[in-house]
Amino acid sequence: MNLALYGTCFESPFLVQLQRRCDRDRGVRKARSISRSRATHVVASATRMASEEGVVQLQKGIAELYDESSGIWEDIWGDHMHHGFYDPNNLSVSLSDHRSAQIRMIEEALRLAAVSDDRLLKNTWVVESSDDMCHKENPMKRPKRIVDVGCGIGGSSRYLARKYGAECLGITLSPVQAQRAQALAAAQGLSDKVSFQVADALKQPFPDGQFDLVWSMESGEHMPDKTRFVSELARVAAPGATIIIVTWCHRDLSSEEESLKAEEKKLLDKICDAYYLPAWCSTADYVKLLQSLSLQDIKAADWSQYVAPFWPAVIRTALTWKGLTSLLRSGWKTIKGALAMPLMIEGYKKDLIKFAIITCRKPA
């Protein structure tokens, strides 16, 4: 980033610190570009096998971003760190409506995973599984053990544990998030049901086949190795378990395309920088990965139209007095993230960014 924009002719400690952070961030970008240039095609053009060094740098950046920003997010938006699910016809949404929308997002995701074909929302497609089971009613069994992969401050974990009376384990790269998640669980009388660990979604610290519901709500976009990410989700899933992935994807490529257009990649790169995201993949790439692991009942949907009010609302809250003062107190990573929000809106408007959900079942 160009510090000349700040136009000072003396070195203020703040700017020196800013420059050091930029240099560190540049190190992360370099690691990411190294990993990109050594990319191996595993699934179409989208999955990037990141170098281990690049991955470690990225994960450090992710942990630091969330260590820094979770508090300010929770202060304004509450304990769910994901998009709301909105009625496309209702254009005026208040802050309390957003909270209900975030809960609706969880419920709609569960509904998609459980529901039979004729009650699906539009823009959902059912993938032919190799066993052709997709047209049968295959309701989700009530889960007893749930894993929340990329759990944030535990909003989903607590909600699902309460809803199903189930045991829920959450994993996050951020020690600050894990502590906060645990504190909230204790405050809500859920210490016996939910627990949180600092752990890597690419190497989950669990034996095989332990969970009835494997939940990943807006964490997939942080995973530098989609193949490993999805393999781990499948590994820890018990026979008959449901896997639900809600994540940011780029548009599916047409059959003639080998990659996104140059200007599309440029926009995504800027977003990746700000949010510590590795290379994006498409919804179709996820579907292929699930198919390659012989998972069944695969359903995928584009929910971009149902999340449209979200980013404008986040920007509005950032621009309030409380938002601005919190941002200034938070840290460079959070500020950079906030500045990148209009890029997300641009990405959605250009039909480049898709809010995707993919669900499936592990064979019994």
Binding site: P175, Q182, Q197, A199, Q204
Partner: protein
């Protein structure tokens, strides 16, 4: 970290074939009262690796769990209370989880285990 969680964690280091159960290195144990729920305990009983629970609870200073169990024990209120206490009320606040194969320490701070691996362990 309560022992219910410990019963679900394993070492994920590359090449390790038997990473469960993790041994406990105990520095600070905290007892936290949790409401008794017989249904929950009955549901959990079938999923628990019993030996791992017994060993872990002993490491935490609680020696009241029987070495072996049979389903009829679930009818005993006394047994359920001991099971409840060991599973849910004993917390490892500070210490570590040790990989049984490699001896690698996964620290536990303020009750949260850190299971992140270094580059060379992945």
């Amino acid at each position: 970290m309560r022992l219910l969680t410990h019963n679900m964690l394993s070492s994920n280091i590359k090449g390790v074939t038997s990473g469960f159960p993790l041994r406990l290195e105990v520095e600070k144990v905290v007892e936290k009262q949790v409401d008794f729920n017989a249904d929950f305990l009955n549901n959990m009983f079938v999923k628990i690796e019993w030996k791992a629970l017994v060993d872990a609870s002993r490491a935490m200073g609680y020696a009241d769990l029987p070495d072996q169990t049979e389903p009829s024990m679930l009818d005993s209120d006394e047994f359920l209370k001991k099971f409840h206490h060991a599973l849910l009320e004993l917390h490892l606040e500070e210490g570590a989880l040790i990989c049984p194969e490699t001896g690698r320490r996964f620290p536990v701070n303020k009750g949260i285990p850190n299971m992140l691996l270094h580059e060379d362990e992945v």
